[in-house]
Amino acid sequence: MTDQTNDAKQYDKETAIGGDAQVGETMIELRELTKRYPGEETPAVDRVSMEIPKGEIVVFVGPSGCGKTTTLKMINRIIEPTSGSIIIDGEDVTNIDPNHLRRRIGYVIQQIGLFPHITIEGNVGTVPRLLGWDKDRTNARIDELLDIVGLDPSVYRSRYPKELSGGQRQRVGVARALAADPPVLLMDEPFGAIDPITRTRLQNEFLRLQEELQKTIAFVTHDIDEAIKMGDRIAILKEQSHIAQFATPEEILTNPADEFVEDFVGTGATLKRLKLTRVRDIEVVDDALIGRLDEPREDLQKRLNESEWTAMLLLDKDNKPARWLRAPDFRHDRPAAELGLPARAMVEKQATLSDALEEMLVGSAGVAIVVDGRGAFEGILDVDSIITSIQTMRDADAEFYRAAKLIDPADEVA
C-alpha cells in the first residue's frame, strides 16, 4: 500500500518539475560502501559510491576478482558491508531486517540455485508464499510468470528442476526472482553458464521483458559485449570495485575515461561497432580493375601493367568473380581461367562489416568482393574502407579524443 502512495507522490513530483520522465530518480544508492573480508589486508570493495536510476539496467563489469559480486551482494546484504550505506527508494536499508529487505529484491545468480526438491511451481511461488499471498493469487501469478518467460505452465508447473534444460532453468530462475514483482532485481552473471546461442536468445528476451517491466536492475558480468548489450549504463570496475567509468555504452565506446577502460573495452568495442554497420552503409570501391575470363592474355596483362592496381579481378560471363590476377602470374603459361588465385571472400550488401572482415581474413586478397543476390560483381571492400568507416562513425567526442591521443606526452618522449 505504501508503495502505491509513494509512486503517486513521485509521479506528482515529476510532473510538477515539468513532466520530464527522462530525468530518472535514483532507485539504489551506494554510499562509500566497503567490504573487508575477515583476515584480509585490503578491502575487497573499497568505498564505492554509485547511484542507479529507477528503471535502468546498470551493468557492473570488470576483470575477475575486482569485486563485482561482492558489491552486488552487499545490495541485498547476502554479504554484510563493513561500512557505508545502501539506500533503496529513499530508505536507508543498511540496518533493517535483511529478510524483509530481500523479499523486495529479486535475485538471480549464475548457478541459478533452483530448489531441487520442489517443483517449478513451488520454486516460483516461494516469495509470494513467504509474503503470505493466498493460494489463488499465488497460482495465478505462477502461471503468468511462466508465460512471461516462455514456458507453458501446463507443461512445466509440476516438473522438477532436474527435468529442465539449462536455458529453461535460467528462465525459471528469472521467473522466480520476478514473482512478487520486486522493483529491484540483482543479477550475477545470470546468463554466464549457458551456451552462446541460448544466451543470446535469453538476453534478447530479457531486454524485451525489461521494456515492459521497467525494473531497476544491477547486473554483473565479466563480458564487455554483454555489458554493452544489456546496460543502459555501465560501471567499469577496477580492483577493489573502484569505478573507472560510469556511463552509457555509447559514451564508454567513444570516449573511454582512461587507459584501463580503453584496454578493457578493447577489441570488443570495435567488433561491436562492426556488427552494427552493414556493407551497404559504407562506400565500396566500384572502379576496381576488372577483366574478363575470355579476354586475350596480352590485353589483360597490358591493362594491369598500365594501371595503378596491383591486382585485377576476372569475371566470368555471368559477371561472377572468378580469379584474382597479379603481374607475376603472367609468367606462367596457362589459360586465364587457371592463372592467379580463385576469387574468394564474397559478401552481400546486407552483410555486417564484421562478417566482411571475417571473410577477408579467410580470403586470399585482403579484400572482400561485394556481390548481389545472384552472385554478380558489385564492388570491392578493403580493410582501409572499413577502418575509414569506423572513424567516420565516431562522433566529435571521439575525434577530440583521438586528437588528444596524437599529442600524448608519452609519444613525444618516445
Binding site: I78, R103, I109, G113, F115, H117, V127, G173
Partner: protein, 217 residues
C-alpha cells in the same frame, strides 16, 4: 528336518513372535532417541565448525566400545532390564546418523542455500525447508544403517536382563550340545535376520514416500 519341525511348534512360534515384538520395541526406542539426538548433533556439527570434530570423534568412540562391556556398564546406571540396552543401542546408532546428517547438509548446493537466503528466508526456514529436505536421502541412509546395526546388537540385551530375541539365542548357547539347543540358536538368529530385512523394506518404503522425485536418482 528337525529345525522345520521345531519352527512348526505353536509354542515356539509364540515365543519367537513375542520376543520379536520385544526386540522391535528395544530397537524402536533406541532409534527414536538416536534420531532425535543425532539430528540435533548433526545440525550443530554442520553449523558450528568448532563442535564438528568433538561431536564426530565422541560418537565414533561409542562404536569402538565392545558391546557386551557397554551393556554391562549400563547396569549400575539404569539398572537391569530393557532400559540399559536402549541407552547403549542409542549410543551405537548415533555415529551413522550424525555423520550422514553432517555430510547430507554439506552436500546441499551452496547456490541453493544462497538463493533461498536471497529470497528472504530466515536461517531456520532455510534449514527446515531447504537444507534438511535436500539432505534427507543421505540422512535416511544413515538411519537405515544404524537400524540394521542395532537390530543385530540388540540380541545382547538378554545378557543384561533385557528382552528380545537374544533370550532365545542365549538359551541355545547356554545348553549347547544338548538336544534342541541348536534349534533355539538358529531360530533366534533367523528371526533377527528376518527382522532386519523387514526394517530394510520399511526404510525403502519411507524413502519412496518421503524423497521427492526431484532429488531421487
Amino acid at each position: 528336518m528337525a529345525f522345520l519341525e521345531y519352527l512348526s511348534s505353536p509354542s515356539v512360534q509364540r515365543t519367537i513372535l513375542v520376543q520379536s515384538l520385544e526386540h522391535i520395541r528395544i530397537v524402536g526406542y533406541a532409534m527414536l532417541f538416536a534420531i532425535i539426538i543425532g539430528l540435533f548433533l548433526g545440525i550443530a556439527a554442520h553449523r558450528f565448525p568448532p563442535f564438528r570434530g568433538p561431536i564426530l570423534s565422541v560418537t565414533s568412540t561409542f562404536l569402538t566400545i565392545p558391546s557386551l562391556a557397554l551393556f554391562a556398564l549400563m547396569i549400575p546406571i539404569v539398572g537391569i532390564g530393557d532400559r540399559g540396552p536402549i541407552v547403549a543401542l542409542t549410543l551405537y546408532a548415533l555415529l551413522a546418523i550424525v555423520r550422514n546428517t553432517v555430510s547430507g547438509l554439506f552436500s546441499v548446493d551452496n547456490a541453493v542455500v544462497e538463493s533461498a537466503a536471497g529470497m528472504g528466508m530466515s536461517k531456520t526456514m532455510r534449514l527446515w525447508r531447504i537444507e534438511l529436505p535436500n539432505a534427507w536421502p543421505v540422512m535416511l541412509a544413515g538411519i537405515r544403517v544404524s537400524t540394521l546395526l542395532t537390530v543385530g546388537i540388540a540380541a545382547i540385551a538378554a545378557l543384561v536382563g533385557g528382552s528380545g530375541l537374544g533370550q532365545l539365542i542365549f538359551s541355545g548357547i547356554r545348553r549347547i550340545g544338548s538336544p534342541g539347543a541348536l534349534n533355539a540358536l538358529l531360530g533366534g538368529t533367523l528371526a533377527i535376520v528376518v527382522l532386519a530385512m523387514l526394517f530394510d523394506l520399511l526404510y525403502l518404503a519411507i524413502g519412496r514416500l518421503t524423497i521427492p522425485r526431484g532429488i531421487r536418482d
